[in-house]
């Protein structure tokens, strides 16, 4: 029986999610990550690139060519097929946990359904 993946660390999850709608450079990933976490996760340069380094090693993201008119000094990153499937699996797992918590009436009353 296949061993389920351990839950992704929050910065890795947010970076994968930030790349889900297209390739981005470091600063765009950082801004998107802050927006996605509603300011709760403050990713700085070292955290961002340490996580990017691990994601590159795991082949979940890859360095890609940027748009034609982009700054040549910027490096762009995109989600790989493997990275997308890991992200999808992680989100499915989170959704199932949310459903379970909702059934137990553990979700905060103000949160969206």
């Amino acid at each position: 029986m296949a061993q389920p993946n351990p839950p992704l660390a929050r910065p890795a999850l947010v970076i994968l999610l930030a790349l889900a709608d297209g390739d981005k450079h470091g600063y765009a990933i950082m801004r998107e990550a802050r927006e996605l976490s509603e300011g709760q996760l403050n990713i700085g340069p070292a955290t961002l690139y340490t996580t990017i380094q691990r994601l590159l090693e795991a082949d979940w993201i890859a360095e890609v060519a940027g748009p034609k008119d982009s700054d040549a000094r910027r490096r762009y990153y995109g989600l790989t097929r493997q990275g997308r499937s890991v992200l999808t699996a992680e989100l499915a797992q989170m959704e199932s946990l949310l459903k379970r918590s909702k059934a137990l009436r553990l979700r905060p009353s103000g949160s969206a359904s």
Binding site: Y27, G44, P45, A46, Y49, I52, Q53, R73, R75
Partner: protein
Amino acid sequence: MITFIALSTRLYATLLPLYPPDLRRDFGDEMAGLFAEDLADAWQTAGASGAIRVWFSTALEFARIAVPGLLQIPAVAVPLLSFLLSAAVVSLELMLTPNRADSAMGGVLIGAFVSGLTSFVTVRAGESGVPHPLELPRCSKSAISPNVSSAPLLWIV
């Protein structure tokens, strides 16, 4: 404002060598560029408080990512440990003799600093192959006359 960002970026670039070597090698330039961009953006949108937030987050990151790596380097860990131990021991001694405590605090710090500095010099000298002043000179067994072999305690190893 530009001067502050330029100075901050320079300071961040000075801190970069303290991050793990592989991270610095692969992403050092990007990290410095991203820090400058983030700082400029934060200053533009939130002023000084935004800049403080960026520096605070950088300090936390430094403590979480750079410091653990630095503590594995003997030239950093040994002097730090020596400094802390010296400061602790002398402070304890002063606490036990309270009438000396007021005037001797500077002495504690200077003593601990000297201890840390001595450890640093010793470790760095050892790493670069420079013999310690208290180390006895090395010589090979073949250089010692056969007569000496009867008195092995005199061998300088």
